[in-house]
Symmetry: C2
Subunit: 389 residues, 2 copies
């Protein structure tokens, strides 16, 4: 396993991220960005807490055209925010449904509204506004003259390309989970309810060093599974099952996202073939993932291989995506995405196919794109579907 990186990021890293954002803001004439989600706040401030699990309180970070971000947050987060590089921290005693930060935001933004300035708010694909919609409508109504423009592309262009410090975190959690998957043959057995195996696998990942396991889904079924997003059932594993576990574990707030397939007792020919096709599709993806190619081209390099077994493309849609503070991030390895792959992007390669009667198989690795091509962050899956006996 890789050496454990230091937790947290240097102030220089937050300053660089902010400077890059401000450069792009200047190009577009944006007077600031108003951010509301966990990942966006953490990206620019370093504010890192599981408290976001509570939907009760909104949190705001405003990136002005110049200078450090301004935090407008519930008082309960002030102590933690003071440990970040952010200096201007404005708090209120939340929850206060009648005014959950809205008057503080109005005060902050009124001078910009008075100038008829435009601010950016992420409104596009894979974003959402993490505050009550009614409060947002009231905020805009209190700021006549303020322009609001979608800044998804701006945030996307920054967050898609990872720093070395970010890559080190993802590499670390990928290494831990790779060694955890290596233990599955020792903990999975015929007769074991899937629910118990999933629970034990969570314990193994924690024991190996992940911080948390926000995501673990999968399935098992005779000659293949049919659904890839279900929680585990009490159904016992049976000889002839194909088992899949797909996990998003975290270390210092960064995700891995990959899966592994196993056959229980014996592997049927069709599932063995599906695994082989997906393994080779992933090889094609690893080979194709170089700076300068588009996401569509990378998708097509994998699709060309899966088409041999699944010409209609009855898998799960796209064949991978970005990975970082969220389990899935921009870009998409899909026919619609013309994003050009850049050095420093961390991606999942995730070809899938439909086969047999309604069965599906998925296969996934995590890579970082370097100048010379893809570098694997996961320990490559075995070429043949492993059989647990």
């Amino acid at each position: 396993m890789s050496d454990q990186p230091e937790r947290g990021f240097s102030e220089a890293e937050f300053a660089a991220r902010t400077a890059r954002a401000q450069k792009r803001m200047a190009q577009r004439g944006l007077a600031g960005l108003l951010l509301t989600t966990e990942a966006d706040l953490r990206y620019f401030s370093g504010f890192h807490t599981l408290f976001w699990q509570s939907p009760t309180r909104p949190w705001f970070l405003f990136l002005p055209a110049e200078g450090k971000p301004v935090a407008v947050i519930p008082e309960i987060g002030a102590a933690l925010m003071r440990r970040t590089w952010v200096e201007d921290i404005r708090t209120w005693n939340a929850p206060t449904p009648a005014d959950d930060g809205i008057s503080l935001l109005t005060e902050l933004l009124a001078p910009l509204a008075g100038q008829g300035a435009t601010i950016g708010i992420p409104k596009g694909h894979e974003t959402h506004l993490r505050m009550p919609l009614g409060d947002y409508e009231r905020l805009l109504a209190s700021l006549p003259g303020l322009g609001v423009s979608d800044c998804t592309d701006l945030i996307r262009s920054l967050r898609m390309v990872k720093s070395e410090a970010e890559i080190a975190r993802i590499a670390h959690v990928c290494a831990i989970v790779s060694s955890s998957f290596a233990k599955v043959p020792a903990i999975a057995r015929e007769g074991q309810p899937l629910e118990d195996l999933f629970r034990e696998f969570r314990r193994v990942m924690l024991g190996q060093g992940v911080d948390a396991v926000p995501y673990l889904v999968g399935g098992a079924g005779q000659g293949g599974y049919r659904d890839v997003i279900s929680p585990p059932s009490r159904r016992p594993l049976q000889a002839g099952d194909v088992l899949m576990m797909d996990t998003g574990a975290t270390w210092d707030g960064y995700f891995c996202d990959f899966d592994r397939n196993f056959a229980i007792g014996r592997a049927d020919d069709l599932s063995r073939r599906a695994h082989d096709v997906l393994w080779r599709a992933t090889e094609a993806g690893i080979e194709a993932a170089r700076p300068g190619v588009t996401c569509r081209e990378l998708f097509e390099a994998m699709r060309k291989v899966t088409a041999r077994m699944d010409p209609d493309g009855s898998g799960v849609g796209r064949f991978g995506h970005g990975l970082g503070m969220q389990l899935t991030e921009w870009p998409s390895l899909a026919a619609f995405d013309e994003t050009v792959i850049e050095e420093g992007m961390v991606l999942t390669l995730e070809p899938s196919l439909g086969y047999g009667e309604g069965r599906v198989m998925v296969h996934e690795e995590n890579i970082v794109v370097r100048s010379g091509g893809a570098e694997l962050l996961t320990t490559r899956a075995a070429p043949e579907l492993p059989v647990i006996r």
Copy 2:
């Protein structure tokens, strides 16, 4: 530990929830509800998956004035949704940024827009819209004539009062985590980095039977901790520390949310006193939590006790909240909340206080309100601050 309940809910339960919503919709003249969040979709459909961790795809459920809900969801969720009681399932091949469900929703809602009908969307406190804001704006623009009204109160009034099946789940996870906290003296020790203790405590909770641990925060410090929402540091536990762990673990998609305090090696007098005051404030809350009292009154019953040590109220704000599919739900035990407590509400009682120089202490139990008063779901904390030697 309580016997493990069956997973999932009966179709009758979803039918009853839907009927109650439709009765309230009729009273308000709403032609439907458009829902976008995990908890709201699961409440009316039973659709239960960790796939919501991925922010890439929006999911929609429409509750019409009559009949079963209509699901408008990515194709990847169709197999799982077909296992629920929902029959009308409309899917698209997501992600498709150019049209992520918007034309399907437009088609569904156009007849209502044509009639000038009004639908409800949650826009209020503790809600958010889980879809790209730009898509929402486009959806409304494509449906001229459609009225949109905030339906937070409607959803809140339903979800605040739990069914026996919901209570059984919360009771089960509270029992598991109570027995896990009982093991803390055996796993925590001087010299142990807090990060390692937190990881081990996650493993203990899983070993005792929780499905997942989405939330575990806390702190430790000499003579008391100063922050209650941080992730754990590498700082080793020291004699004289007060340690607090606050956990939201889940079973079948329902949360517990409570904390426990421990002194390491020895307990200082001030922290012992703070613990005693909070324990007695919680007793006052347990005594006061009866149908018919308001949340404000319940808050004040606890506040009266903590005021002896913390007259200015420098704790963390409210003194508890609802609990269910989310770590924190309506109502709030706070001065602003005049909600009348009802039988079947599941609440956290969570008084806190500031003491010493910037130290804070929290204390928390989970209860269900019955006709005769509060019933504890957690194993009551010891009256005296426990010392781990």
